[in-house]
Each structure stands twice: as structure tokens, then as C-alpha cells.
């Protein structure tokens, strides 16, 4: 009985985080594999290039952001085009709290003396402070936006959140002592926790690790924690309420689910995830500019959950990895002999790699929506079901 897939004998098993032994085993295998790959030269013989490791780090932090969007859009069905705003809020909060203050000497015309003027604010705080703070500030913003969401439905909500991105971009552009504005921007928070530096190579428990490896493990731990938390949310009372709202909000309300409260919860948690993801992602990038938090970034995150799989944790992660590694694939395509004169690395070329990437985003969104609305997760389910019944097709 135990080994029959898809057979659920009691309610506890149906509501479990891992629904079967197989899932548990796969989770373990993936975890061991991740530790092995991340450990690099220190643990196993296989060592990824620093470039590849950096991309993995980006992908893991982007996954946390995608999880956030999936909670509000996938789980609760409230399409939010404003994710870029919350990511930006997290990134800038972290940069202000964890960054270093920059000052300059200016001549005060009134007294004729040199005075110090703050160019960029920064408090140089520890990561233990700026990381939760980034999440909390973003969550507060989500809390403020949520009442609008309870009043609006469907497309209208999408527009309001789109407007949020433009307002946010304006604020990021103009609040120059905090954000550095557009163009050159500002340096981000330092990834330093209780004296442990993630931004320098060094020894960890006697093992020599590069900064990418340290960040990799930070990302892995956070992703596992936040992924399991999201998975837990999905199966809880809140998660069921959100799913009910997504499927039919009026019916949910009639069954006694308070729409306002649950939409509030969804927006707040989603923004918290976005804040954490934004803070970490840009801390690794190292520089923040206001242009980065445009509508395009929101579309990127929408693409992640659409391509990965709506309302699934594993889908969010797959989608984020897909999108983060897409530039690498495009670079590879640009190197192929047949394509090299169509896609050039030169910005003045016919289609440069960045533009080609954008076209691909667009086409992937369109393609997945028409052909496989469940995303990569759906493809995985179909492959799994095929082999589950193999050689029978039923």
C-alpha cells in the first residue's frame, strides 16, 4: 500500500508538506547535490566556475522573489504587476541601512566655511538588521497597498499595481540622498553578518571558500527555509482560503472567508519575500540604479512564475533559474556560427544579446500561455505521469 503512488490514505498525508516518500527522497537528493556542487573544490572534485556560481546565487535569490509573487498572484489569484516596486523597496532599505555613508566637503555660502554634506545616507549596520528590515519595510508597503486590492478586482488591480511601479521608480529617481537616483546609482549593503564576511574569500570551519560559495550557501539555506515556509503556507488554513479566493472570490466570501483580511495577508507576505529577495539580489550585484526597478522587472517576475508554474513552490524555483540562466543561453546562441551575425554582442548590431533576450522573454510568455499554461511544472507532471504508467498510456 505504502508504495502505490498517488494513493492517500488519510487527511494528514494529503496535507503534508511532502506528499510521498518519493518527494522526500528527491528533496534530499537535490539538497545533497546542491551542497556538493556549492562546496566545489572543498567537498567534491567537481568545481563550478565562479561565473556559474554567481549565476546560481542570483537564481536562488530571484527564486525567493518569485515565491513571493507566486503567493499573491499564483496562490491568491491577485495579478500584481507591482513586484518591481517591492523588490526595489527591499533593495533600497538594505542599501540605506547596510551601506556606507558618503559625504563631501562643500563651501557654505553663508559662512564661507567648509561643511560636510551627506551625499548618500548609509548606516553601515549588520546584515542581521538590514535583511529583516528590508523584508519588513516592503511588507509594510504591501500592507498599505492591500486595502486598494480588496476594493478592486481583476484587470483594474493589475493597473493599480502597474501604477505603483511608475510611482516607485519616480521616488527612487528623486530621493537622491537615499537612493543615489538614476544613472550611477548607489553602492548596496555590505553582506557582513556578525563579523562574518560573505563578500570576501575565506575559511569556513577549516574549509577554504570563495565569496561565491559562501553566498551560495547563504542562498541555499534561505531558499530552503523560505520555500518550505511557502509550502507550509499553501497547505495551511490561510493557503486554502487564498486558493478559494483565487478560484472564485464571491463563492469564497459566501463561505465565510473574509476577502479583505486574506488579501491583506497575501500582499503582506508576498511583499516580505520580495523585500528579502530584492535586498539580497542587489547586495550581490553591488550597485543600485533607479532604472533597474522598471515595468520590465515586474514582467521578468511574471515570466518566472508563468514559465515555472503558477501556484507551486517548485515552479517558482524552476522559473527563476530559467530566467536567470537565459542570458547565458543567449550568449551561447550568439556564439553559434549560424546565428552570430544575427545576434551580436556588439550593442550597435542588428539585434544585440540583450534585445534578443527580451524578445525571448516575450515569446516564452506567449508560448507557455498558449501551449502549457502550467509551465515547466506542468511539463514535469506530464513526463512523470508518462513514466509512472509506462509502458501503458493509462
Amino acid at each position: 500500500m505504502r508504495l502505490r503512488p498517488g494513493l492517500v490514505t488519510d487527511y494528514r498525508a494529503d496535507a503534508g508538506i511532502f506528499k510521498s516518500v518519493t518527494q522526500r527522497v528527491w528533496f534530499g537528493i537535490l539538497l545533497v547535490l546542491a551542497v556538493y556542487l556549492g562546496g566545489g573544490g572543498a567537498i567534491g572534485p567537481i568545481r563550478l566556475s565562479a561565473d556559474m556560481e554567481t549565476l546560481l546565487v542570483y537564481a536562488m535569490f530571484a527564486s525567493i522573489g518569485a515565491l513571493g509573487l507566486n503567493i499573491v498572484t499564483g496562490m491568491a489569484g491577485q495579478v500584481s504587476l507591482g513586484h518591481a516596486f517591492f523588490l526595489g523597496l527591499g533593495a533600497y532599505t538594505a542599501a540605506v541601512l547596510g551601506g556606507i555613508e558618503q559625504t563631501r566637503q562643500v563651501l557654505d555660502p553663508a559662512t564661507g566655511q567648509q561643511v560636510t554634506e551627506v551625499v548618500l545616507r548609509g548606516f553601515g549596520l549588520d546584515m542581521l538588521i538590514w535583511l529583516p528590515a528590508a523584508g519588513i519595510i516592503a511588507a509594510l508597503a504591501g500592507l498599505i497597498v492591500a486595502p486598494v486590492a480588496t476594493r478592486l478586482r481583476g484587470l483594474y488591480l493589475a493597473f493599480v499595481t502597474l501604477g505603483l511601479v511608475f510611482l516607485g521608480e519616480h521616488i527612487f529617481r528623486e530621493a537622491k540622498t537615499l537612493t543615489g537616483g538614476a544613472g550611477n546609482g548607489r553602492p548596496t549593503a555590505e553582506t557582513r553578518m556578525l563579523g562574518f564576511r560573505f563578500d570576501e574569500d575565506g575559511e569556513v570551519f577549516g574549509l577554504w571558500m570563495s565569496k561565491q560559495q559562501k553566498l551560495f550557501f547563504l542562498g541555499l539555506i534561505l531558499l530552503v527555509v523560505m520555500g518550505l515556509a511557502a509550502k507550509n503556507l499553501f497547505r495551511s488554513r490561510v493557503g486554502r482560503a487564498l486558493a478559494a479566493i483565487r478560484d472564485r472570490d464571491i463563492a469564497a466570501e459566501m463561505m465565510g472567508i473574509p476577502l479583505g483580511r486574506y488579501k491583506l495577508i497575501a500582499f503582506t507576505i508576498s511583499s516580505f519575500y520580495a523585500g528579502i529577495a530584492g535586498a539580497l539580489f542587489w547586495a550581490v550585484v553591488g550597485r543600485l540604479t533607479a532604472e533597474g526597478f522598471s515595468f520590465l522587472l515586474s514582467i521578468k517576475y511574471i515570466a518566472m512564475i508563468l514559465i515555472g508554474g503558477v501556484a507551486t513552490v517548485s515552479g517558482s524555483i524552476m522559473g527563476a533559474f530559467f530566467i536567470v540562466f537565459l542570458p547565458k543561453v543567449v550568449e551561447f546562441l550568439a556564439g553559434l556560427p549560424g546565428l552570430s551575425h544575427v545576434i551580436s554582442k556588439d550593442p550597435a548590431g542588428m539585434i544585440n544579446t540583450f534585445q534578443f533576450e527580451q524578445i525571448l522573454f516575450g515569446l516564452f510568455i506567449v508560448g507557455f500561455l498558449i501551449l502549457e499554461p502550467m509551465g515547466l511544472y506542468g511539463i514535469w507532471i506530464r513526463v512523470r505521469n508518462y513514466w509512472k504508467g509506462w509502458p501503458f498510456s493509462y
Partner: protein
């Protein structure tokens, strides 16, 4: 005086928003889809004006005519290739798909232009009328004239032509229209062609002072979205009212904000449409003139 000047500028701005906005509304009414691809279609259609007027150096009006034909046919192709397979899919899936389309077309069309904006080669240049102490650019006047003419022509089309009747029927009830023999797919196709043509016309006026067009004009065109939302997604009259409202609000902020509230930063007028949208939606969740959705469980 600067107040009256701002009002006149606001009207011409409203004309551009109305041109773009009507495209959104026509598509929404006929297929209940909000097309985010409108700004990208504007870049695409506008390019052909630039191309035929300045590079091939044809007469400007001939160039516009050719561009309109190209825009209409590309609208037809896009509808047939991408929108038709999505019939019956959830509203959001289609809306998000138009975002994807927008992204692809925008890169494709934006690539025609250089980094710096290009002149559309229009005959209006920098010439102005002087009305007392008010200054009215020829291009601004042309924008108002074109928008009013197009609006009247569209209303007449919907009111008197056979196709217009079919479109109204399809907007009212798709299934019933189908049963009555209306070709709903033709309605879809026509509405995309119309929207594409409207955005091409809007591209001529997107930069009201200089008449230039470039990839950055995209953000200006995107401001037609809040306009449509304010007016209510399915109301042409509402769009015109909202365009005037937003046009005035934007022109007035552009004139006074730098002196009165310098702390909100430069170019604040660019985000004013979104702010107006927030306020209007909080009070009226379906826009000023939008139809309230009736939901059945």
C-alpha cells in the same frame, strides 16, 4: 495667462491620449481583452511614417497613408496569429500575453530607431500661432483636429455602417451576435486593425513640441493606460473625458509643480496620470463610466 496656456496644452495632450485610448477601448469592447501591446504598436506604426517621410522622402501625408495600411495589416496578423488561439482563455492569461507581445514588438520596432529620437518629417515643425499672448503650436492644433475628426468618424462608423453594427452587437453579447450571423472573428480582426491604426496616428503627436519619435516615446504612450482605466475600460465617451482630465492634470502639474512643490522632484507630471488613476479607482472601482460587472456564482 500661464493657466490658460496650460489648459490649451492639456487639450492637445488629451487629444493624443484619446487617440491611443480609443484603441484600447475598441479592443476591450470587442474581445474583453486589455491590450498592453498598444504602445509597442505605436512605435511600430510610427516607424513607417519616419521611414517613408524622411528616409524615402515621400510626401508626409502619403507616408502616413502607407504607414496606416502597414499598421492595419500588422494588426490583422497579430490578432490572427496570437490572439485567436487565446479565445476563451482567462482574461488574465490574455492580458499577460499581450505584455509578452508588447515586449517582443517593442524590441523589434525599437531596433529600427537609433538611440536618439528621430523626426517624423511632419510639415508642422516648430511653427506656432499666437492667440493674444497664448502660444499654440501647429502640431498641437493638428493633434486636436485629428483626434476630433477620428472620434467623429469612429462614432459614425459604429452608428451607421454594417460592420459597426456588428461590432456593437458583438460587444453587447458575443454568443447572441454569433447566432444572428455576425462574424465575430471579423469583428476581432477589425478591432485590432483599428487599434493599430489609431496608435499609428497617435505616434505623430507623441512628442507634441518637437514631433520626434524614439524608443523612449513608449513611456508616454503607456500613460494612455491609466487614461483608459479612469474612463472605464468599455466606454469611448469615458475615455475622452478621462483624457481631458489627465491632460489638464498633467499640463497643470507641469506648469506649477516646479514652483509650488519642488520637493516631489523633477518630471513629477509624468506620474500624475497614475496618481489620478489611484484616486479615481479608490472612489469608483470600475472607472468613471465603466460598466459594473455583474457576477454570478
Amino acid at each position: 495667462m500661464s493657466f490658460l496656456q496650460a489648459l490649451i496644452n492639456g487639450i492637445s495632450l488629451a487629444a493624443v491620449y484619446a487617440l491611443l485610448g480609443m484603441g484600447f477601448v475598441i479592443i476591450y469592447k470587442s474581445m474583453q481583452v486589455l491590450s498592453f501591446a498598444q504602445p509597442a504598436l505605436m512605435l511600430f506604426g510610427g516607424w513607417w511614417v519616419v521611414y517613408f517621410a524622411t528616409i524615402v522622402s515621400l510626401n508626409f501625408y502619403v507616408a502616413v497613408l502607407i504607414a496606416v495600411v502597414i499598421a492595419a495589416s500588422s494588426g490583422l496578423i497579430i490578432e490572427r496569429a496570437f490572439l485567436r488561439p487565446m479565445v476563451g482563455k482567462p482574461v488574465f492569461a490574455v492580458a499577460i500575453m499581450t505584455i509578452g507581445l508588447d515586449l517582443s514588438i517593442r524590441v523589434f520596432a525599437g531596433n529600427f530607431y537609433d538611440v536618439s529620437p528621430r523626426s517624423t518629417g511632419d510639415p508642422w515643425g516648430l511653427s506656432t500661432f499666437n492667440l493674444g499672448r497664448l502660444i499654440l503650436g501647429h502640431r498641437r492644433l493638428a493633434a486636436i483636429v485629428v483626434a476630433v475628426a477620428v472620434l467623429l468618424a469612429l462614432l459614425a462608423f459604429f452608428r451607421y455602417s454594417r460592420m459597426g453594427l456588428a461590432m456593437r452587437a458583438a460587444a453587447f453579447d458575443q454568443e447572441v451576435a454569433l447566432i444572428q450571423g455576425v462574424s465575430v472573428s471579423a469583428v476581432f480582426a477589425i478591432s485590432w486593425a483599428l487599434a493599430s491604426v489609431l496608435s499609428t496616428l497617435a505616434s505623430l503627436f507623441i512628442n507634441l513640441d518637437l514631433g520626434s519619435l524614439g524608443p523612449a516615446s513608449y513611456t508616454v504612450a503607456l500613460k494612455a493606460l491609466p487614461v483608459v482605466v479612469i474612463g472605464g475600460l468599455d466606454s469611448i465617451g469615458g475615455t475622452v473625458v478621462a483624457a481631458l482630465l489627465v491632460g489638464f492634470a498633467e499640463a497643470l502639474t507641469g506648469t506649477y509643480q516646479a514652483h509650488l512643490t519642488p520637493y516631489v522632484g523633477q518630471n513629477f507630471s509624468q506620474v500624475v496620470p497614475y496618481l489620478v488613476m489611484f484616486v479615481v479607482l479608490l472612489v469608483r472601482p470600475y472607472g468613471l463610466f465603466g460598466t459594473r460587472e455583474v457576477e454570478r456564482v
